[in-house]
């Protein structure tokens, strides 16, 4: 498990990217020099919680409460691993 996905890490959106809600696309997007990544709904919901103050455990608990779900920890960890590899988040 990497630093970004340790349950007590506090991931935040990398300075290389800007996370923003786009009404016209009905999606969260990541903006960077001359480019954009359109996030699907679950990716957007995870990324918007990566504010540098919440731990991974808190993000998982928050998502489970918001969507009335349970057992999301593995999916969140998997996504954060990908997000870190893409340099979307840093810790």
């Amino acid at each position: 498990m990497s630093a970004a996905t340790a349950t007590d890490a506090c991931p935040r959106v990398s300075r290389r990217f800007r996370l923003q809600w786009e009404e016209a696309q009905n999606a969260w997007v990541l903006l960077y020099p001359e480019g954009m990544v359109k996030l699907n709904q679950s990716a957007g919901e995870i990324m918007r919680r990566c504010d540098g103050s919440r731990t991974v455990s808190q993000i998982v608990a928050d998502l489970e409460q918001a969507f009335g779900a349970s057992g999301l920890a593995d999916d969140v960890a998997k996504f954060l691993e990908l997000a870190r590899a893409q340099q979307w988040i840093e810790t």
């Binding site: 800007r18 016209a24 903006l31 954009m36």
Partner: protein, 378 residues
């Protein structure tokens, strides 16, 4: 009309390219501005641009590039950047760095500018100077420091062509020395001024292969420290590029006089009226105008594109290149080896291999040359 014939509604114009001016202190022989730029009508006013920004953002645009010419020659650039930032655009400035003082950099930062793409000032007139790291290097070093001091990412761009491609190692080293995080080595594409100078600018296959090999060596050497993008010249390919990611699909260009285009060279196409932002709102331009709808989707295609298994992949290539080389904007892009006009591309590459441009002088982009070309009929 059956449901199958209904073209899907296009998505929003995600990318707005604001070409603020054709004025430029440089004279690049590969400039993509139209060759008759000097006869263009008056530039849009500050208020016109502010309205265009608001309309485009309301229509869903999210990336905004301020370009030109040299956008820094407009003294309202800071006002436009501030409004774009306030509206929620990601703002990009595409500049040679000429005219970027510490004061203007600070003002642009305060206005919310997100990113500067700094191009190397290689107009080929000053090729030796450029390669010898003297004046160019001093300017770029000063501007690179301003970019770093203001916390912007360092993105550099260099147009590559026959006359500088053999020095690609020095170009990469210069970018590394300046602290670039991204370097785009963009081979010239043959439109506008570059088409006039094609014999002089098109590299040979050997030159291209060597440059790609050296670029790969530098990628290995520097890893994540600098990300290097290498854009190949399409004349050396067998399949065309998916130009602008599709006609009227993502990109909206507004030229200095307010003409709205699906790409920055589309104005050359015959029989198409492109709307002007002085007369039509951005949403109507994007969804309703004939100019933007003409080459959307694939119903306009002829053979070989119409029946080609790759037609969704490249959408038949570039409409301007089809017009310039095959004389028909609805033809297959002659870069494709299935095009009946592909021989013209093969011939251009053969001329490059034979050194056809060695004795001819370059035509440099400047207003006098532009007026002369316009008077001669384009």
């Amino acid at each position: 009309m059956s449901a199958a014939n209904l073209a899907p509604q296009p998505g929003p114009p995600l990318w707005l390219l604001a070409e603020l001016t054709y004025r430029c202190p440089l004279h690049c022989a590969f400039c993509y501005n139209p060759v008759d730029f000097a006869t263009s009508g008056p530039e849009l006013s500050t208020d016109d641009w502010l309205r265009v920004l608001r309309e485009a953002r309301a229509a869903g645009s999210v990336q905004c590039g301020f370009s030109g010419g040299e956008p820094l020659v407009r003294d309202d650039l800071e006002i436009l950047v501030a409004e774009a930032h306030r509206l929620g655009f990601y703002t990009n400035l595409l500049t040679s760095g000429v005219g970027l003082t510490a004061e203007r950099a600070a003002a642009l930062k305060a206005a919310g500018l997100d990113h500067i793409q700094l191009s190397f000032q290689d107009s080929t007139r000053e090729l030796n100077d450029f390669l010898s790291h003297t004046r160019t290097f001093d300017l770029k070093q000063r501007v690179a420091a301003l970019i770093k001091d203001n916390g912007w990412p360092m993105v550099m761009n260099c147009v590559i062509h026959r006359l500088n491609i053999d020095y690609i190692d020095r170009i990469i080293e210069m970018a590394v020395e300046l602290g670039a995080e991204y370097l785009e080595l963009a081979n010239s594409q043959y439109y506008s001024w570059a088409l006039l100078n094609r014999d002089q600018l098109l590299p040979t296959r050997d030159q291209l292969e060597r440059a790609e090999r050296i670029t790969n060596e530098y990628r290995e050497k520097y890893g994540d420290r600098i990300r290097i993008f290498f854009v190949v010249p399409d004349y050396h390919e067998k399949r065309p590029k998916k130009c602008m990611n599709g006609w009227g699909n993502v990109f909206l260009t507004v030229t200095p006089d307010g003409t709205a285009l699906p790409c920055h060279t589309a104005k050359m196409l015959p029989g198409l009226a492109f709307p002007n932002v002085r007369e039509m709102g951005v949403r109507d331009i994007w969804y309703e105008s004939e100019g933007f709808n003409r080459y959307r989707g694939d119903s306009w295609m002829k053979d070989p594109c119409r029946t080609c298994p790759d037609k969704e992949k490249d959408l038949g290539g570039c409409r301007c290149q089809a017009y310039m080389l095959a004389g028909d904007p609805a033809a297959a892009d002659p870069v494709c080896d299935k095009s009946p006009a592909h021989g013209l591309v093969v011939e251009a590459v053969a001329r490059a291999e034979a050194g056809a441009g060695r004795s001819a002088p370059l035509v440099f982009r400047d207003p006098a040359a532009s007026r002369r070309i316009a008077a001669e009929g384009g």
